[in-house]
Structure formats: structure tokens, C-alpha cells
């Protein structure tokens, strides 16, 4: 009987958000970037993070990726605090402004290095699949220092997805991509938007993402000023106006 009660309690326990940050504050050189910021995203969300330059989008993503330690506050993935929890980083895929590649190594070598850091099985298959998915097979043996900005961005996206992370943090993922590559990324992101995977994407020009995103969060003055479901944007005219201006 006790066992059944316990089972019921477990089943009724609230599911923790896939991404949760509470009371985050961060200063750089005494300048506050994030001020008591809180945000919770349910599993399966695709949230577009918008805000003007310097609003703190990159800092927020870097804190969730465990690359920056906040001055105050708490960040968690599926209810588990990120602080001092190295194993949790396996669930996170991060794409930043910089590619994180070694210029003298080629695409195969760079991705193989990351696959090994994550202790992945079938390294060669995963790396080849990642390179093929970004249409870089013909360039895979060239040092990445010879790549164009768009090619580097595609390879960086392949790196972020290499370990099939449940949480994807993408900072301006369309940077440097031509029309075809951007459309291919649209398709990829649509495919990734499913239960079991949560995406938080910072975008200065979010229009193309709104076609398949579930939410928009507006970062202003170091806080989430508004967060709204994409199909209910008409209820938040300020955010709607901001998005129209950002177009």
C-alpha cells in the first residue's frame, strides 16, 4: 500500500523545466548585464531569445552552458543544478559567436576531438554524419583556417549537435550562412524541435525562427521583460512591436 502511494506521488510530482534559471545576476567590470533574471522552459520548447545589442543574450546562454559563473542565482537542467555538476554538461550543445576550432586541424580532426571529449561511441560514423549533414564532405580534409565564415558556422553547428544533446543553446546560428545553408538550418531546427529536446536560440533578427518556434522571450535591461507563445503574440503588443522593428 505504501509502495502504491509512493508510486502515485512520483507520478504526480511536477515535471521540472528542461531549462530553469532563477535570480541570475552578472556584472562585467562593475556593469550589470543580467539583473535578477528568471526563466523556465518546458521540455520540447523552442524559445527564441530576442533583445537589443548588449541586452545579455550571449551572457545568459553562456551561463546556462556553464561557461560563465553568475554572480548570483541558479541555473538548472531538468531540475538538476548546473553548478559543480560536470556530467550534466553532456546534455548541453552550445553554439557561440566563435567556432571553438583549432585552425591547423581539418574538419574531421576537429570534430573527432570533440567526439572523444564527450566519450561518444562510433566516433568515425558520427563525425562523418555531422560533416555530411552540413554539406562539407568535399572540404573535410582541409584545415579549417581555409574555410569561409559560412563553412565555419556550418561546421560549428555540426559540432554543437555531434553528441545529440537534449538542450541546445544557439547564439545567432544564422550568422554567415548563405540562403541555401540558412534554409537547410531551418529544416534541421524544425526536425530537432520535438519532445525530449529543448532549444534556446538567441537571434537579433528572429523572423525566420518565428515560423516554427514555440515561444519568444524578450530580454531587456538584464531581465526577461516578456515571454510569450508564438501563437499568442498578439496579446503582447510591445513584444510584437519590437519583433516588427527587428525585422
Amino acid at each position: 500500500m505504501q509502495y502504491n502511494d509512493a508510486m502515485t506521488d512520483t507520478e504526480n510530482a511536477p515535471v521540472p523545466p528542461a531549462i530553469e534559471v532563477r535570480g541570475l545576476s552578472k556584472r562585467y567590470n562593475l556593469q550589470p548585464v543580467l539583473k535578477d533574471l528568471s526563466l523556465a522552459l518546458a521540455d520540447g520548447s523552442l524559445c527564441v531569445l530576442v533583445g537589443s545589442n548588449g541586452a545579455g543574450k550571449t551572457t545568459l546562454l553562456r551561463i546556462i552552458a556553464s561557461l560563465v559563473r553568475p554572480d548570483a542565482g541558479f541555473a538548472a537542467i531538468n531540475g538538476a543544478a548546473l553548478k559543480d555538476n560536470a556530467a550534466l554538461r553532456r546534455q548541453i550543445g552550445y553554439l557561440g559567436h566563435q567556432t571553438l576550432f583549432y585552425s591547423d586541424l581539418n574538419a574531421l580532426e576537429n570534430l573527432t576531438h570533440y567526439a572523444r571529449l564527450y566519450g561518444l561511441d562510433n566516433v568515425a560514423d558520427r563525425v562523418h554524419a555531422g560533416i555530411a549533414s552540413m554539406d562539407l564532405v568535399n572540404h573535410q580534409h582541409k584545415p579549417v583556417r581555409t574555410y569561409s565564415r559560412g563553412m565555419l558556422q556550418r561546421l560549428a553547428i555540426a559540432r554543437a549537435l555531434l553528441h545529440d544533446p537534449a538542450i541546445l543553446l544557439l547564439d545567432e546560428p544564422y550568422t554567415g550562412l548563405d540562403k541555401e545553408a540558412a534554409q537547410a538550418l531551418d529544416l534541421r531546427l524544425r526536425g530537432l524541435h520535438q519532445p525530449g529536446r529543448t532549444l534556446l536560440i538567441a537571434a537579433h533578427h528572429p523572423q525566420r525562427l518565428l515560423a516554427f518556434a514555440s515561444q519568444v522571450a524578450w530580454l531587456r535591461d538584464g531581465r526577461i521583460a516578456q515571454i510569450q507563445a508564438v501563437d499568442r503574440l498578439s496579446e503582447t503588443p510591445d513584444l510584437l512591436h519590437y519583433l516588427a522593428e527587428a525585422a
Binding site: 561557461l67 556530467a87 554538461r89 566563435q98 576531438h113 572523444r116 564527450y118
Partner: protein
């Protein structure tokens, strides 16, 4: 056990990646080697030492060459991770970040030790002493182990600064002074034919320095790298 094997895998992968980047780029080791050889040549011709003085100074000059070359290698090791912010890629890995410290220390030690292996016959030639001595190699390994572990820790400290190329030697040389003194004294003793038992105090200092700096890396590396 799984966690520890992941940790060792990370150490090995950081080490292996550094070797691979060096093999592809050849921007670190050749410069270290040329610089160390230049120091040897310059001292040899500038000081015009008599054979008696050469024997006494050989150990000191060897360590000056190695310290300079190692600092160049440490700077290269830092700039490598700063380029394209590759360090962030290592920080994202799901393993305790001190593994990065051990991997980087291992690669820095390997590069400097390779330089030392080339320098020893050159020193033997110029300073008319047999420096291809296993006991001297042991002292070099202990000295370089302490020097490169401290250097890797300080290189990580300087990675976020704009003046890292200048900052590293300014921080490293004063803090490494006890290690260099112990290494020079132990090397001098070995070259003079003293048994290792007589050099125990210097060797103990080198062993203790290795333990201290490795422990400091284990405990502090994550904090040092944080933004």
C-alpha cells in the same frame, strides 16, 4: 570507476590534441628548440669560459635555456586555446575541468623534455661534460615537471588578459625560482659525480614542488578559468 576513466580519457585527449595541433602547425616545438639552442650558443660565445668554469656553469646555463624555451612553449599553449576560443570547447566537455590542466601540463612537459633531449648532446659538446646521464635526465624530468605544472597554472590565469604574453613570464619566473634553484643544484651535483643520496634535499624539494603545483592545479584550475 566510470567517472575516473572519463577523466583519464579527457587528460589523454587534451594531450593528444596538443600533439596533433603541433604536428600539423609546427609552430611551438621548432621555435622552442631554436630559441634554446640560440641561448646556448650566445652564452658560450659571449662568456668565453675556461674549461674549469664551464663545468661549474653548465647546469645553470642548461636550466636557463630550458626555462626560456619552456616559457615560449607555455605561451604558445595558451594562445592555441585562445584562438577561436577553443578553450571554451574544452570547458564544455562533461568532465571535471582539472583534467584540462593535467592534459596541458603533460603536453607542455613533453615538448620541453624533447627540447632538453636535444640540448643535452649540444651541451656535452660545448661544455665538455658528459650530460647524457640517466640521473641528470631524472633531475630534468623532476624540474620540468614542477616548472611546467606551475607554468600551465599561471598560463591559465593569464589567458583572459590582453597582456598574457608579457604577464606569464613576469608571474612565472619569481614563483619558479625555488624550483630552478633546486634543479640547478641537483644537476650540478649529478654532473660533479655526487650520488643521488647526497642530493636528497634538492630532489625532495623538486618532488614536493611537483606535488604542490599538481594539487594546486587539481583544486584551482576550474576557478581560475571561470569568467
Amino acid at each position: 570507476m566510470n567517472g575516473f576513466s572519463n577523466y583519464l580519457r579527457m587528460v589523454w585527449q587534451v594531450f593528444r590534441k596538443d600533439l596533433q595541433v603541433e604536428w600539423r602547425g609546427r609552430q611551438g616545438l621548432p621555435v622552442m628548440l631554436i630559441f634554446a639552442l640560440l641561448v646556448v650558443f650566445l652564452f658560450n660565445f659571449a662568456l668565453q669560459l675556461t674549461p674549469g668554469l664551464q663545468a661549474g656553469l653548465a647546469a645553470g646555463l642548461l636550466w636557463v635555456s630550458l626555462a626560456f624555451a619552456s616559457t615560449l612553449g607555455l605561451n604558445r599553449s595558451v594562445s592555441l586555446e585562445g584562438e577561436n576560443n577553443a578553450l571554451a570547447g574544452l570547458l564544455l566537455a562533461p568532465v571535471d575541468r582539472s583534467a584540462i590542466f593535467f592534459g596541458k601540463t603533460l603536453s607542455n612537459l613533453t615538448f620541453t623534455f624533447l627540447v632538453a633531449l636535444v640540448l643535452l648532446p649540444v651541451f656535452s659538446l660545448f661544455y665538455q661534460q658528459n650530460m647524457l646521464n640517466p640521473r641528470l635526465v631524472l633531475v630534468i624530468l623532476l624540474g620540468l615537471g614542477a616548472y611546467t605544472s606551475l607554468g600551465t597554472l599561471l598560463a591559465a590565469l593569464s589567458i583572459q588578459t590582453r597582456t598574457r604574453d608579457v604577464l606569464l613570464p613576469v608571474l612565472l619566473y619569481p614563483l619558479a625560482l625555488p624550483v630552478l634553484i633546486a634543479a640547478v643544484e641537483a644537476s650540478r651535483g649529478v654532473l660533479a659525480g655526487q650520488p643521488l643520496a647526497e642530493l636528497q634535499s634538492w630532489l625532495s624539494l623538486l618532488i614536493a614542488s611537483n606535488i604542490l603545483f599538481l594539487a594546486a592545479g587539481l583544486l584551482l584550475f576550474d576557478t581560475i578559468l571561470e569568467e
